[in-house]
Each structure stands twice: as structure tokens, then as C-alpha cells.
């Protein structure tokens, strides 16, 4: 961690630096870093680097530079931790975040966050064992329905269904027939 040598950077609009500050702070808060001292040190150091980049001629807005610096720092740290843990990933960002979540860095290892190594073996073990195991190995087999003889009643119904399927109007006529039969039935009943 760099020593604190940050002074308020020169910028056309101080609001940009406020936004940069908030952005970086929220980035670390989103990683559930709640240690105030660590948080303020990290933000100050990152904004200091962003200010230096702006001074050296970058034309990007302060929030963008600040976030690029924050991401770079965090990714570098992730990479070092993963290497020390004997792991390698080309997706260091996503892999690192997943490892932090699964090893419960916010709850158990917050003090190790962004600290240079060497890290405690327990912490590295937690990172090593941080694997998202969703399901066991497949042991594929098939489940094939055995034939069912539906019997003569269902077979007759099936045939009728197929006939209705071939001539959809027949189904409609059948329903109308039922309706008319019900009306006739009520008519006869009330005589």
C-alpha cells in the first residue's frame, strides 16, 4: 500500500472528484469492505493515483480514471492471491470475486483485503477451496416409458379423438350437440 501523499487534485470541476470518490467508495462497499480505516486508505490511495494520471495528461473524466485504477489494483491483488493459492484464471476479475465470496472474505478475512502478501495459510486454503460445486458428476442413464395398453374404452376414445383431430369442426358440432341435448333435456323435464 502506498503511503498517503494525496492532496486535492486540480480539476476543472470539483464535482467530478466528488463523483469519483463516491464511485470508488461504493465499489469497495459493494465488495462488502466495511472497515472504515481500510476503506478511507484505499479510496485516498486510488484517487491519488487517478489524480496523478490526470496530471500526466489523461483526458478521461476523474470518475472513469479512478474506477480504472480501483479495478486495476483489485485485479492485481486478486491475481497475486490466486497465484499464491496455486490457482490461475484468465478471468481474474470474476474468478477473484467468486473466490472472495465463497471464502467469505467480507466476514472472515476483511483485514487481508488488498494487503500485500504473504497471506495466512488459512486464508489461502479458504481461497483454494472456494469452488462453486453445483452438482455431482453425471451418471447418465435413460428412463424409457414402458408401453401401456389403455384398454378398449380408451382405445375407442383415442380413435374418436383422432377423428375429431382430423375434422376440427366435428368437435364443435359435438359440443353444440351436447348443448342442444341439455336444452332438450331441460325442456322435457319441465313438461
Amino acid at each position: 500500500m502506498d503511503t498517503l501523499k494525496f492532496t486535492a487534485p486540480r480539476a476543472k470541476n470539483f464535482v467530478d472528484w466528488t463523483t469519483a470518490y463516491e464511485r470508488v467508495e461504493r465499489y469497495f462497499l459493494s465488495l462488502r469492505i466495511e472497515n472504515k480505516l481500510l476503506l478511507s486508505q484505499l479510496i485516498a490511495a486510488i484517487l491519488s493515483r487517478a489524480a496523478a494520471r490526470l496530471d500526466s495528461g489523461s483526458e478521461l473524466a476523474p470518475p472513469v480514471i479512478a474506477m480504472q485504477e480501483a479495478r486495476k489494483e483489485v485485479d492485481d491483488w486478486f491475481r497475486n492471491v490466486l497465484i499464491m493459492a496455486g490457482l490461475f484464471s484468465d478471468q481474474v476479475g470474476a474468478h477473484g470475486r467468486l473466490a472472495l465470496f465463497l471464502s467469505n472474505l467480507p466476514g472472515r478475512w476483511q483485514n487481508e483485503f488488498m494487503h500485500p502478501g504473504p497471506w495466512p495459510e488459512d486464508f489461502l486454503d479458504a481461497i483454494r477451496s472456494a469452488y462453486l460445486d453445483t452438482s455431482p458428476e453425471f451418471e447418465r442413464s435413460s428412463m424409457t416409458p414402458r408401453p401401456i395398453d389403455l384398454g378398449p374404452v380408451s382405445a375407442l376414445a383415442d380413435e374418436t379423438w383422432k377423428v375429431i383431430g382430423r375434422w376440427p369442426y366435428l368437435g364443435t358440432v359435438f359440443v353444440w350437440g351436447l348443448y342442444l341435448a341439455a336444452l332438450s333435456f331441460i325442456f322435457l323435464m319441465t313438461r
Partner: protein, 691 residues
């Protein structure tokens, strides 16, 4: 041994079916004689046929109550699968591999995961947990639910150090709904396990109970399925509490009666049951039915059919009816109850196809027929009322004096009026017999009354439950008749999630809208019965009163405030409320814990969380990488999301991004790294949530 068992089963069935026949035949003969005395005609023949169907169903229920009540009084209770646990200590040390499968579909994630956590902890406490693997088999299509499921599952596994023990699998294509979900599970992992315990999203089972279920299967190698009788819990509303009280109070007597005749020819209800994997996979794959949905096609109510196929393969299916520690939740209001019934109705009516299939056991046909009649009898009841009303109207309109013909009731010197009263008395006695026997069982079974608040409170609870049941019966008659007709006319039902939360209950305008058909039916019956005579109208009062007041009844029954008031007075209590089992307590606490997660607080959608939150995003990206997809990266959708916000994306577009790891990673990076001025303001607001 097998011969002795068969003889025992035959005797039990002989007693049971003879009792049912005797009980049903008395009112049937009385009614036939009554119609004869009024002057026989063809329409009255129809009426009699309908009455016989209806009274058989009533007698069937009453017989279960009588036999169940008597079985529970026997000093040595045989014919219970649970008793096999008492005989020996076989396999006490090692348990075989068991999968606990929980299919979920857009469910309340907090409740699902809390249930899993509770069961996992309860199993760990038994010291036998290592034999059980949990599987959350998600078919969720709602990105909100799905993202949340994955996150809470990861959190749960991390907390319990249960990666490799609690598994999560989601299907992106929901082939064949729940049955297909379980089928895919069996095909992928079924061979790894000797048993599968199936659960619903709201199921809960205690640790000892899960272990004992395996013990039952280990001791009875010819049992293919052992079904427990889940007790309804967590009822909040008036209706919810009524349902759970009925289930707890009358359940044991009824289950005992059911088990008495079915023995190893039982049924499967789809959850809270243990299944032997090899015969299930070899024999219980579901065939397609002839024709199209809703009547044909894929089998919806797969459980009954699977039990029938298991029996056809020669394996027994048992009901562990009095097995404690198996729970589920129920709907909290009438409307939600009807929504569930609509699905079940369609599924059960499909079974007509299988009723006459060759090779099925007679008991399996009885189960299928019972399921069909459970809904069709409502239509028969409605037809009975219509036909009876028309006949009474005709008689009244004719103005003729009634000259009764002679029937055998003349031997008892009954007038036609006394005959009618006797008939009504016998019918109502049969209807209310299960309640009376349930009450008696609650009173005289040692220690039982205390769990329900004492004998006086039991009496009050049963009285209240009986009045409400009578009022809602015609409402469900109209509902179920409509469902049967709709299914027969080819109107299918979509796959929906059951809402088990009472909230604030139904509002009165919504209740009026939901019950408009009932109001009309009630008014129609009132007018018709009034036009016949005042006395006929009074006879019909339970019908038209329940229907006409249905919105008010529905409104009141949905209220959790009334539910909690009743609880305060100890009415409709269940034993689990006075002494809460550990698994229920853990589930309740877990649900509260998961529903208050800060990751999902605020007004941001699950999709926005997956795009903004570093951990939710990392989990989704990792999960998406496990699923190979040849779909191109939807870069245009990422740009659209950035420029116009998540709200501008359709559900399908959100799904496309969520299912593509590169797109989701790109979105996450750009939300955090791009100039805040260049992206939609909603993303900055989502980021501002971290403070």
C-alpha cells in the same frame, strides 16, 4: 409369510368395502323408495343415479373415518409400515446414498432455501447427514427468482459448508414441467442413489424422520414408494388455519382408515415420500396419453400414475399415514385454493385414459377413480341440484295433490314427510360422521386434546370448522364443476406458482370480482327455490346462502388478522403451535434471515443485482460458464441495457444476458467503468444503493 399377509389384506378389504357398501346402500335405498313413493319416472331415475354416485362418495369417506377410528383403538396395531422400524436394528450404522430432490418453479426463494437449511441442519444433528444429498431442481423462468435462487443457494452452502452436499441445477427449457424436471434428475444422477426423497417447494421433514424413512425402505425390500402424510403448517389466515386444523385433527383418523384397506397398494402424492430408484427408473417413466392437452398429451398429475406403474411392476406402495415430522404448507385463501384445484383437476381428469388400462392393479384403478371423482362429484352434485329443483318445480306447478304410492317405508308407517326427514337425517349423519369420530378421537386419545388447546377448544374449533365447511362447500361445488367442464371443453391451464403467503388477505372488491359467478348461481338458486315454496327454499338455504355470501366469506377467510385473533384465543390450534418442532422453528428463522438479505433490499430487480453486485454477478457468471451454449454474445442487448436501463429490456432479453457469461461480465464492467454520464441513470441509482 406372504400368504398370511395376503389373507390379512383380504380380510381388511372385505371388512372395509362391506362397511362402505352397507353405509352407502341405506340412504340409496331410502332415496329410491322415496322417489318410488312420489311416482317413478325416467328423470327420477337419473336423479337416483346421481344420488347413488354422491352418496357412495360420502359413504366412502365415512367408512375411512369408522375403520380409522376403530384401528386407532386396537391394542396391537398391525398393518403399518412404520412398525417395521420397531422390529430390528438392521443397517443402523450405515445408510445408503439418498437424494433429496426439491423441484422448484418461481417459488418464494427465501422459503425454499430456509426449508432446505432447516432439513440439512436437522439431518446433521442425527449424525447420519452424510448419506443425504440435496438437489434444488429449478425450473424457474422468472429472472428475479432465478438470480435470487442462485445467490441464496451459494450463501447457504457457504454458511453450512455444504458445497457438494446441497446441489443446484436449473433447466433453461422446462420440458414436461415438474414430471420432466424429476425425470431429467433421474437420468442425470439417479443411478448414484438407492433412494430419492421427493419434496415440494414448501415441504419440510425432520432429521429423524428422514433417516427413519430410509430405515423403512431398508427393512422392506419390496417397497417401491413410501408416502408420508404431510401435515399442513404455517397457516396465517382464517382459511389457512382452518385447513391446517382439519388436516391435523381429522388427518390421523382418516389416514389410519385409508392405510387399513390399501396396505401395500397405496398411492403416491408427489412429495414427502421416499422412492426406490432402480424400479422407479425402470418402470415408472411416464408415457404420453392419446390426444392433445388438456385431456391428453403429457401427464400432469404424475404421482398417481407413477404409483400405479410401481404396483404394476410388482413393488408395494405404502402410506406411512401416522408418521410425524412431515410437513407442507397450504393456500391461505379460497381463491388461491381454487387456483391450485384447477391444476389438480385437469391432472386428475387425464387419468380417465388410464382407468381401463390393462395390467394395472384394481387398487390403482380405485386411486385413479377417486382422484377423478374428487372433482367430478361436484359436477354431479350440481346436476343433482338442478334436476332435483326442476322436478320439485314441476310438482309444485302441476298443482296436483301428492298421492304417495306404497313403498317399503309404509311398513314403518312413515308419512312422506317423515320419510324425507329420515333420508335427510341418514345422509347428514353420514356426512358428519367423520367429524364426530374425529372429535371423539381427539377427546379420548391420550394426550391428544392438549395439543389442540384442550377439549373445550377442540369442540369450538370443530364447530367453527364445520360451519365454515358447510358455507364453502357450494362455492367449491361451482368452482370444481366449472373446472371439470372447462377441461372437458379443451380449456387447459398454465403452469403457475402457488402463493402460500397470506399478506393482507383479499380485498372486498377483488373478492366480488373473483366470486361473481357464485353470486349469480346463489341468486338463481334462491329465486328458483322461492318460486317452488318457502320450505324448499329453507332446505336449500345452505347452498344459496354460501354462494350469495361468497365474496364476504372469501374476504373474511383470507384475513390473517382473524387468523391471529383465533390463535390468541386458542381456537383452531395445532400441536405444532404449542410445541414447535425444531425443523419448523429453523425454517421460520431461516425464512426471515433470507428475506432480509441486504443484497436484495431496495427497489432493484434481480437482473440489476446480477449486473451491478460483484458477488451476485460472479456467481451468475460462474453458473453460466458451466452451461455450454452456442448462442452468440448479445452485445446489442448489453448496449441497450446500458443506454436505456434494465427496464427497457423484455424478460426474454434479460434472460439472454443472464445466460451469457461474457455479456453479463461486459455489462458489469461497463456499469462500473464507463463514465456515469454516458450510461442510463438507473445504473448510478443501483450503485448508490451501496452506502
Amino acid at each position: 409369510m406372504a400368504g398370511k399377509y395376503r389373507a390379512m389384506v383380504s380380510t381388511r378389504r372385505l371388512v372395509f368395502f362391506t362397511t362402505a357398501l352397507l353405509l352407502g346402500s341405506v340412504p340409496a335405498v331410502l332415496f329410491a323408495d322415496f322417489l318410488w313413493r312420489l311416482g317413478y319416472s325416467i328423470p327420477k331415475g337419473f336423479l337416483l343415479a346421481l344420488f347413488i354416485i354422491l352418496i357412495s362418495s360420502v359413504a366412502w369417506g365415512a367408512t375411512h373415518a369408522i375403520i380409522g377410528f376403530l384401528s386407532r383403538r386396537m391394542p396391537r396395531r398391525t398393518g403399518r409400515i412404520e412398525s417395521s422400524l420397531e422390529h430390528d436394528n438392521e443397517n443402523e450404522e450405515t445408510l445408503p446414498a439418498v437424494a433429496i430432490a426439491m423441484p422448484v418453479y418461481n417459488e418464494d426463494t427465501s422459503r425454499v432455501m430456509a426449508g432446505l437449511k432447516a432439513m440439512y441442519l436437522a439431518l446433521e444433528k442425527t449424525g447420519r447427514g452424510e448419506s443425504f444429498d440435496f438437489f434444488v431442481l429449478s425450473d424457474s423462468t422468472d429472472p428475479e427468482k432465478w438470480v435470487r435462487e442462485e445467490y441464496i443457494w451459494s450463501l447457504l452452502c457457504r454458511k453450512l459448508k455444504a458445497f457438494g452436499r446441497i446441489h443446484y441445477r436449473r433447466r433453461s427449457v422446462n420440458t414436461d414441467k415438474k414430471a420432466g424436471n424429476l425425470l431429467e434428475f433421474c437420468q442425470d444422477w439417479g443411478r448414484r442413489y438407492r433412494y430419492m426423497i421427493t419434496l415440494d417447494a414448501d415441504s419440510l421433514m425432520g432429521g429423524d424422520e428422514l433417516v427413519n424413512l430410509v430405515g423403512i425402505m431398508e427393512r422392506n425390500h419390496n417397497v417401491g414408494i413410501c408416502q408420508t402424510a404431510p401435515r399442513i403448517v404455517f397457516g396465517e389466515s382464517f382459511w389457512g388455519r382452518l385447513q391446517q386444523f382439519s388436516n391435523h385433527f381429522y388427518g390421523p383418523v382418516f389416514m389410519s382408515g385409508l392405510n387399513s384397506w390399501q396396505q401395500g397398494d397405496g398411492n403416491y402424492w408427489g412429495h414427502n415420500a421416499i422412492i426406490r430408484m432402480v424400479p422407479f427408473m425402470d418402470h415408472c417413466a411416464l408415457p404420453d396419453l392419446p390426444g392433445r392437452e388438456p385431456f391428453g398429451g403429457k401427464i400432469l398429475s404424475h404421482d398417481f400414475v407413477e404409483a400405479a406403474l410401481m404396483r404394476r411392476a410388482g413393488y408395494e406402495v405404502w402410506l406411512a399415514g401416522e408418521y410425524e415430522g412431515s410437513y407442507e404448507e397450504g393456500p391461505q385463501d379460497i381463491v388461491e385454493h381454487a387456483v391450485r384445484d384447477r391444476r389438480w383437476c385437469q391432472g386428475n381428469l387425464q387419468h380417465v385414459w388410464l382407468l381401463f388400462s390393462r395390467g394395472l392393479m384394481p387398487s390403482s384403478r380405485i386411486h385413479l377413480a377417486n382422484g377423478i371423482l374428487g372433482y367430478a362429484s361436484s359436477l354431479f352434485w350440481l346436476l343433482f341440484l338442478i334436476l332435483g329443483g326442476i322436478l320439485a318445480y314441476n310438482r309444485e306447478r302441476s298443482g296436483l295433490t301428492l298421492l304417495p304410492e306404497s313403498g317399503f317405508a309404509n311398513f314403518w308407517e312413515l308419512t312422506i314427510g317423515q320419510h324425507a326427514i329420515l333420508l335427510a337425517g341418514v345422509t347428514f349423519a353420514l356426512l358428519f360422521l367423520p367429524k364426530v369420530l374425529g372429535l371423539l378421537d381427539g377427546w379420548i386419545t391420550k394426550g391428544r386434546a392438549k395439543g389442540f388447546g384442550g377439549r373445550t377448544r377442540i369442540l369450538l374449533s370443530v364447530g367453527l370448522e364445520t360451519i365454515v365447511s358447510a358455507l364453502v362447500a357450494p362455492i367449491f361445488m361451482v368452482y370444481h364443476s366449472g373446472f371439470v367442464l372447462a377441461t372437458m371443453l379443451g380449456k387447459g391451464v398454465s403452469w403457475t406458482t402457488q402463493n402460500r403467503v397470506a399478506g393482507k388477505g383479499i380485498q372486498l372488491p377483488d373478492a366480488i370480482r373473483a366470486h361473481k359467478l357464485h353470486i349469480l348461481a346463489g341468486a338463481g338458486i334462491l329465486c328458483l327455490s322461492q318460486s317452488i315454496s318457502m320450505s324448499f327454499s329453507l332446505w336449500m338455504a345452505p347452498i344459496w346462502l354460501g354462494l350469495s355470501l361468497s365474496p364476504l366469506i372469501s374476504f373474511l377467510l383470507s384475513k390473517p388478522s382473524i387468523g391471529s385473533l383465533l390463535r390468541r384465543f386458542g381456537i383452531l390450534m395445532i400441536p405444532e403451535e404449542s410445541k414447535e418442532p425444531e425443523v419448523l422453528c429453523l425454517a421460520r428463522l431461516g425464512e426471515q434471515e433470507f428475506s432480509e438479505l441486504e443484497e436484495f433490499s431496495g427497489a432493484f430487480s434481480g437482473f440489476e443485482r446480477a449486473a451491478v453486485d460483484p458477488y451476485v454477478n460472479a456467481i451468475r457468471v460462474a453458473m453460466a460458464r458451466k452451461t455450454k451454449s452456442d448462442q452468440p454474445v448479445p452485445r446489442n442487448l448489453v448496449v441497450q441495457a446500458l443506454k436505456t436501463g434494465a427496464g427497457s429490456l423484455s424478460v426474454a432479453d434479460r434472460m439472454k444476458i443472464l445466460e451469457c457469461p461474457d455479456a453479463l461480465l461486459d455489462l458489469y464492467n461497463r456499469i462500473w467503468l464507463d463514465d456515469p454520464k454516458s450510461i442510463h441513470g438507473s445504473w448510478s441509482r443501483a450503485i448508490a444503493n451501496y452506502n
